[in-house]
Amino acid sequence: MKELLSGNQAVAEAARLARVQFVAAYPITPQTPIYEKLSEMESQGKLPGIMMRAESEHSAMAACIAASLTGVRTFTATASQGLALMHEMLHFASGNRVPVVMCNVNRVLALPWGFGSDQSDSLSQRDTGWIQLYCEDAQEALDTVIQAYRIAEQLLFPVMVVMDGFYTSHFIEPVDIPEQEVVDAFLPPFSVPTRFDVENPAYIGNVVNPEQYMFYRHRSFQDMEAAREVILEVARQWADLLGRNYEMVEKDGTEDAEIVLVTSGAMTSTARVAVGSLRNKGYRVGLMKMKLLRPFPAQEVREALRNVPRVVVLDRDVSQGLGGIWCQEIRSALYGLDPPPILSNFIAGICGADVSPETIEQMLLDALGLEEPQGLPRWVGKEIS
């Protein structure tokens, strides 16, 4: 059944369909409608369980971790500053191997204050040990949240589902809301055992020595490496049930492309228009959409871009002193390819600044003219009018 939903509403519906038992949240623009929608559902009896109106995102995450350790399915959502405040607890979640699922709605980090999208908030959490899944639209956000529970609970990793503030979170689109029975068939009830058995008590999270620390970190690393297979399988099963397939790396016309545009999140939709337009003009343009940040699908990226002469990475984010974050990831995945593609990086749309299909077209055309890689990223739309 399709309904007109914003990305935020779609995420709330997904949490409901996943039968989350414990929600802890704190309001922050542009995540607030998720929190409000869940509250509304709760008040209508559609969301049985407990909703904690936390006094901070940090506490919300702490409570989710604790509840998850105790054996219930948990959910929270945040954005920007809230995610930054949670940072410490993100490590706790992954270090504890709890299957917490969180939606992060991208927003710039202060200062200066702003409200529009910027993936830097979630990208800068890439080393916290979470699985991160980026979504292009409301439908993908809904589908991904449900999938995230399967992934998290199978792998014992927390999963962050990411969508762009306003573009995805607030735009109303037709969204297919799966039937509860379909979701139930896909996602069994939470069955990860509690860590707190009073009959068989154990101490969780105490101090370890350096060797033990290394052991558990390495164990997590191995498990994260093995996660790609699970993520893939979950997506496949979802596709079997609902016909919507999301790949870790979505490739459109990359095989014989003279240039491939790499995007993630909401800008992908704009890019699709630009790519279509250029193809109509005769260019062999491919599009590669990055869904998975961690574990990074390096092998898929490498395979997709082997033999592609030019690659453009479009980042709605920046790592100061280096460049776009996605670009860095792509670049390191391509290390050792011979010949290496001519890689260029565009930083655009930060704080929700408008990036039109024409802008993207121009970027690609500019890149096609390049004969060697550029050292610095090119910033688009930076002028103050």
């Binding site: 270090g95 014992l156 154990a202 101490y203 969780i204 558990y216 997590s220």
Partner: protein
């Protein structure tokens, strides 16, 4: 790819789970200092002439074990009912609580226990019955105490008493309002039950020959008392209207008719004087005056006796002394007195009374009672060939009560003991120990030293008679500095209620159970483990183990912090070892 349920084993493989007990860490190695439980003496016990373990008695009373508490006292003293009423309670002066708020009413507990507990011979004497026999001459507190303890030590004991009934001064010297005869009878009966034979109206040397005594008994203990009243040596002390205090009280106690005038003057500052004065009031004398040479605070009578006397209308006239009896014909009519003032301090600390020049005054009266002292009366000592001094006091070794004759021991007032009942009982006990040592070929001085409580005069027979009983280090006496007063709120002392009746019924009542509870709560119970759990609960290293048998130190984990010693309310725990 199939998905499977995550198990606890899966989780444990990826995140640290800690389940092993820390008990394997021998933190006890951090320090050589370890605590030990050692019960100790209390200052009240050290000060008690008979060595009553009142701290422990209070503990037992606090848990409602009145019989147990009474049995504990009976280890040392067969007269809890007597001492609980008339003892001069030096224990209370020594009480650690007096340095905190007010001393505990220790005597009140002793009386309470005698009233509410059952007199059962304390434990089974461990020492086997011996075929040796001891004769005790005199059934006063000293003689009966000696007999009681000798019987408990396994000897056959026969007490010979001249008077028709046993008890000595307890019966014939103390008025019934202070010590009811029923209480005395009960405790003498108890002494009999312990195995003591008491033959009354039997005078040694007259009714039983010395030869027979020497033949039948392997040792002799003389506790003949001091029943001969002394006077002041004034002319006319023999005339009508002049009585001797001890004679007056004896007549009263034997139910004889005593004639008193309207104005009675008692001379003396001891308990006998006060007994005479208060008895005189009870007999109907409208005006009774007690004349005492020194000032009030230095009267030897107990302060509460003086207060009671005044409350009953007795007038105390301190710093005055008679010098001459004035007569109206053959009967006394007045007493010429002289006033004194406190002079320089004597060696005991009380000021020597100095006559005030030209201070003579005349005190008109009908009856004069002289209560200025008593001396031994017995001629038996002389007949035996005992060494006596010019006053007739038998000379003994202060440590062993031995006289100059082998096998003959003596104690009590007749041997110059202090005149308090408790001292008489203590002397008897000491005599029993000395005779035991004599008969067993032991050194009484050594034995006494072993059994001595702290550095006082008292000793305990408990280690000898009941070696499995509560073991405490008799030599260590807990002082106020070792008491953790933080555990004790200040609270008013519970006094025995007055029971004024105008006659010879007991004039004070016993403490009520609620009062005992209050006093038991106040009592520090110095040196006695009450099982309060403080050490057990406070130990940060869970190194004090609690069981039915009490507490135990688990040295393998004890880090030797010493909190248990520092916080023990009553200094039972002590750190040892290490530096």
């Amino acid at each position: 790819m199939s998905f499977r349920r995550v198990t606890l084993q899966d989780i444990q493989a990826v995140a640290p789970f800690s389940k092993t007990s820390t008990e394997c860490f021998a933190t006890g190695l951090w320090s050589q200092r370890k605590p030990s439980f050692l019960e100790k003496g209390s200052p009240c016990r050290e000060a008690c002439p008979v060595g009553n373990d009142m701290a422990r008695a209070f503990h037992l009373a606090s848990v409602g074990d009145y019989n147990g508490a009474l049995s504990l006292i009976l280890q040392e003293n067969p007269f809890p009912g007597v001492c609980g009423r008339v003892c001069y309670h030096p224990c209370e002066r020594a009480c650690n609580r007096s340095g905190w708020d007010q001393p505990i009413n220790i005597r009140g507990l002793e009386r309470f226990l005698s009233d509410h507990g059952e007199l059962q011979p304390p434990g089974n004497p461990r020492l086997r019955k011996k075929h040796l026999k001891v004769a005790v001459i005199g059934a006063g507190p000293c003689g009966l105490s000696a007999a009681y303890h000798l019987a408990r030590l396994g000897y056959g004991v026969t007490v010979l008493e001249t008077m028709p009934q046993p008890g000595g001064m307890l019966r014939y010297g103390i008025p019934g309002y202070r010590l009811p005869k029923t209480v005395l009878d009960r405790e003498i009966e108890f002494i009999r039950e312990t195995g003591v034979e008491i033959l009354c109206a039997t005078q040694a040397g007259r009714d039983i020959s010395l030869e027979d005594l020497k033949k039948d008994f392997q040792a002799l203990f003389l506790a003949v008392g001091a029943h001969r009243a002394v006077g002041l040596g004034m002319e006319g002390e023999g005339m009508a209207g002049v009585l001797k205090g001890i004679d007056f009280l004896r007549d009263l106690n034997m139910g004889r008719e005593v004639q008193l005038g309207n104005r009675v003057v008692v001379v003396g500052g001891g308990n006998t004087a006060l007994d005479c004065a208060r008895s005189a009031r009870r007999l109907g004398a409208p005006e009774v005056i007690v004349l005492y040479r020194k000032d009030r605070e230095h009267m030897r009578a107990l302060p509460e006796e003086v207060e009671s006397a005044e409350r009953e209308g007795v007038r105390i006239l301190p710093l005055a002394s008679p010098v001459r009896i004035l007569a109206d014909g053959k009967r006394i009519s007045a007493l010429e007195c002289i006033r004194f003032e406190p002079g320089p301090l004597e060696h005991k600390g009380s000021p020597l009374p100095v006559p005030v020049p030209d201070s003579r005054f005349s005190l008109p009266l009908d009856t004069l009672i002289l209560a200025v002292g008593q001396l031994p009366q017995s001629s038996f000592a002389g007949e035996l060939g005992l060494e006596v001094d010019h006053l007739g006091v038998i000379q003994t070794s202060p440590l062993s009560t031995a006289t100059n004759l082998t096998g003959v021991f003596a104690g009590g007032d007749g041997a110059g003991a202090k005149a308090f009942v408790a001292h008489a009982i203590a002397e008897g006990k000491k005599g029993a120990l000395a005779i035991h040592c004599f008969l067993q070929g032991k050194e009484p001085e050594l034995e006494l030293e072993t059994l001595r409580i702290g550095t006082g005069n008292a000793f305990s027979l408990q280690p000898l008679l009941e070696p499995d009983g509560p073991a405490s280090d008799l030599k260590k006496v807990v002082g106020i500095k070792q008491i953790n007063t933080l555990c004790f709120p200040k609270a008013p002392r519970q006094e025995n209620p007055l029971a004024p009746n105008g006659g010879f019924q007991e004039s004070t009542a016993g403490l009520a159970p609620a009062q005992i509870e209050a006093e038991a709560g106040r009592c520090f119970k110095c040196g006695t483990c009450t099982g309060c759990d403080l050490c057990y609960l406070l130990c940060p290293d869970i190194s004090i183990v609690k069981s039915e048998a009490g507490y135990r130190i688990r040295a393998e984990h004890c880090k030797g912090c010493g909190q248990c010693e520092a916080t023990c309310p009553r200094h039972v725990l002590e750190m040892g070892g290490g530096d």
